[in-house]
């Protein structure tokens, strides 16, 4: 018994030694490991990047791509900890609004040296621009989205707007009819991330702006007061869901999926969720309702390369691969984003009416400006709007206070 055991141990040891030997004999050619920090968009994200990593490793033997997946909520925290500890990845997805901080801290590698005109030409110009600072390109648009009004076809047809409301007045008219029929008209977000953006829809379409040309807060304007008063009056008349300050973006979308709220402003990915979670719900997509002008919000997320990366050549190769047609089409269609490169935009996957509806809004799209203090502004505006929605402050006072708060951080 004991003899047999020791015999087995020798065998195991031999096998281990052989395995070790082979590891040393593995190709010694350029063997880079590229670490990529990736944000969680949906349950599709990780499988997608794992597939891309495997495809790339197959085409470039010896190289390893390591995907590190993080939740959006903790992404900034992870990057911060990694960077401070000097253990950051080679590539990372970041919110484009953080890019300025990356450039200021000299952590982002300018990509212009790697890009030739053909590579640059792959992109839809409007989506590449937010990743450029001071004439240099630091971030490539990995994900892009815009916003539009989703409406419940059944209730809006009954209310007399079968093609969806075109203006805020029509939103109010439709909501009154829907309310009379026992539902909630307009879904208003009043909690957590993008509470500010939900109000910008009203601000922009009423001709206002968040940050002025002088880099100072510009939202405490007559347009701003009009926009805030519009939402507040809708709350007071019971045209929104009650208790708006308890509704995050997901909560409002859930009410829409359940058919309780008839209109909600959201991104293309809601269409994907609706098809999966509420297949019987008939929805339409219309532009963000108009006040005096058309506007929508467009957001990009960027892929950046870290300056301290030791595998820049291979990292770039992987970037180049990610931004070719097939990987782009797979990513964008699976996640429900908008195409950011010209080639992918021609793919049949994006010929559906939903994507087309969003793409057609891009000419009026506003991007978050690359300016320091954008997050502070978002926070100040969100706080102000919550106070207005709760009736704790008058729109003019709340906006003035928020503008003063935002000016403390803007451009600093």
């Amino acid at each position: 018994m004991q003899a047999r055991l020791s015999q087995r141990l020798t065998q195991v040891a031999g096998a281990l030694a052989a395995a070790g030997l082979f590891t040393f004999l593995a190709p010694a050619a350029q063997a880079d490991t590229v670490r990529v920090t990736v944000a969680y968009y949906s349950d599709q994200t990780e499988p997608y990047f794992k597939e891309m990593a495997a495809a790339f490793e197959k085409a470039n033997p010896g190289n390893t791509i390591k995907i590190e997946m993080v939740n959006w909520d903790t992404l900034q925290q992870k990057l911060q900890t990694d960077i401070a500890g000097g253990s950051n990845a080679d590539l990372a997805i970041i919110g484009t609004r953080w890019l300025l901080d990356f450039v200021k801290d000299d952590m982002a590698e300018p990509l212009d040296g790697y890009m030739n005109p053909t590579f640059k030409g792959r992109f839809i110009g409007a989506f590449l621009a937010p990743g450029q600072i001071g004439g240099k390109t630091y971030g490539l648009p990995i994900a892009a989205s815009a916003r539009a009004l989703y409406y419940n076809k059944a209730t809006l047809t009954k209310a007399g707007f079968p093609a969806g409301p075109r203006t805020w007045d029509e939103v109010i008219a439709a909501s009154k009819k829907i309310k009379a029929a026992g539902g909630y008209g307009f879904g208003l977000q009043g909690k957590e991330i993008e509470t500010d953006v939900y109000w910008y829809y009203s601000l922009w379409t009423n001709g206002g702006d968040v940050v002025g040309a002088n880099g100072k807060a510009a939202f405490a304007s007559p347009a701003g007061i009009k926009a805030a008063t519009l939402y507040k009056s809708m709350i007071d008349q019971g045209l929104t869901q009650p208790g708006v300050t308890n509704y995050s973006r997901e909560d409002v979308q859930n009410l829409f999926k359940q058919g309780r709220v008839s209109m909600v402003i959201s991104a293309p990915f809601l269409a994907k969720q609706l098809k999966k979670e509420a297949p019987t719900l008939q929805y339409g997509i219309a532009p963000v309702p108009m006040g005096t002008t058309h506007a929508t919000y467009a957001v990009t997320d960027s892929m950046v390369m870290f300056k301290n990366s030791k595998a820049k050549a291979t990292a770039w190769k992987f970037l180049d691969f990610l931004f070719t047609k097939a990987p782009r089409v797979a990513f964008t269609s699976r996640e429900g984003f908008l195409p950011t490169t010209r080639e992918e935009a021609t793919a049949p996957a994006f010929a559906d009416s939903d994507t087309k509806a969003f793409v057609s809004l891009l000419p009026t799209a506003r991007f978050a400006p690359t300016i320091t203090g954008w997050e502070d502004t978002a926070k100040a505006v969100s706080d102000a709007m919550q106070a207005v929605y709760l009736g704790k402050a008058k729109p003019a006072d709340a906006l003035r206070a928020a503008a003063a708060e935002a000016d403390k951080a803007l451009g600093k």
Binding site: Q80, W98, Q241, P242, T245, N246, Q386, L390
Partner: protein
């Protein structure tokens, strides 16, 4: 280490205990000291959103924080939060522990049920409660409506007047298991024969509780208060998950304020300053409490 024992021995043996605890002392100093050094360092420097040091800035971070009315409001709210949750946990925990200490059919099951919330992560509990307090389809509103106690949905988390008390209630709920465990340990150490003696002398059950149980439990109550204050003061998930300190900053406590500064607004320097202030406050509160409590032999 008692002085009288040391005095009888030559000086060499007086050093022995120090030598013996030196490894763990060094480890503890390193584990506590390095982060502390780091926080002090960050708090007096301008730090970028992604953690790079941009230069020495003296007490600027502290000045910024103290000039922020939200910080001061959060400070006051932290006191209410800690008092509410710790007070509630002790007040609820004590009778529960007394009941669970009695011999009754199904006591094992009852003990498991009381302990159960402890085994679930705090974040998960908070998420479950966030759903439970949802306006339209939350279990709380649905139940109350079915019982005809309310006519329409109550907006629990929409404003701080309800949201903050609700958060305190959830805080109490998750602190009760730990508190009960402490108390049960204390009750087990109380000898049964003194109650027998008291009964013979004709003491009522209230008198037995007042004169025997409570004084003997005192060290355990003290411990429950001190430990709970430390946990609750620093407790992040409940408020962050349920309201993120909102609406309009009206449910922030210091630790959620700190998180928002550091990881949402990208001001790690100010966040470090807040965490230092919190550390000092906690130190002061604990020291003060231990000082005003009369010294007890044994557990305390």
């Amino acid at each position: 280490m008692r002085r009288s024992a040391g005095a009888r021995q030559p000086s060499q043996t007086r050093l022995n205990p120090w030598v013996l605890i030196l490894p763990s002392l060094a480890l503890a100093l390193f584990v506590i000291g390095y982060p502390l050094y780091n926080i002090v360092f960050q708090s007096v420097h301008a730090v970028s959103r992604f953690g790079l040091i941009r230069g020495f800035c003296g007490l600027d971070n502290f000045r910024q924080v103290f000039a922020d009315p939200v910080f001061l409001a959060s400070l006051v709210r932290t006191v209410w939060w800690t008092l509410g949750v710790v007070g509630g946990a002790v007040l609820v925990g004590l009778p529960v522990a007394l009941v669970l200490n009695q011999d009754f059919y199904g006591r094992g099951l009852a003990r498991v049920l009381v302990m159960l919330p402890w085994s679930v992560s705090l974040t998960m509990t908070a998420i479950v409660w966030r759903w439970a307090f949802n306006d339209e389809y939350g279990m709380v509103n649905v139940t109350l409506q079915r019982l005809h106690l309310i006519s329409g949905p109550v907006h629990w988390l929409a404003s701080s007047t309800l949201a903050f008390p609700v958060e305190i209630l959830v805080g109490i709920l998750v602190s009760v298991p730990f508190t009960v465990t402490l108390f049960l340990g204390g009750l087990a150490s109380v000898p049964g024969d003194i109650y027998e003696a008291a009964r013979v002398e004709g003491a009522s059950s209230w008198q037995q509780f007042r004169r025997l149980t409570l004084p003997l439990l005192r060290p355990f109550i003290n411990m429950a208060i001190v430990l709970n204050v430390i946990y609750v003061f620093n407790s992040f998930p409940i408020i962050w998950v349920m309201t993120q300190g909102g609406p309009s900053n009206s449910t922030h406590i210091l630790v959620t304020y700190l998180y928002e500064r550091g990881f949402r607004l990208g001001k790690p320097g100010e966040a470090a300053a807040v965490s230092l202030i919190m550390l000092l406050l906690l130190f002061a509160a604990t020291a003060l409490y231990l000082k005003i409590q009369p010294r007890e032999g044994g557990a305390a």
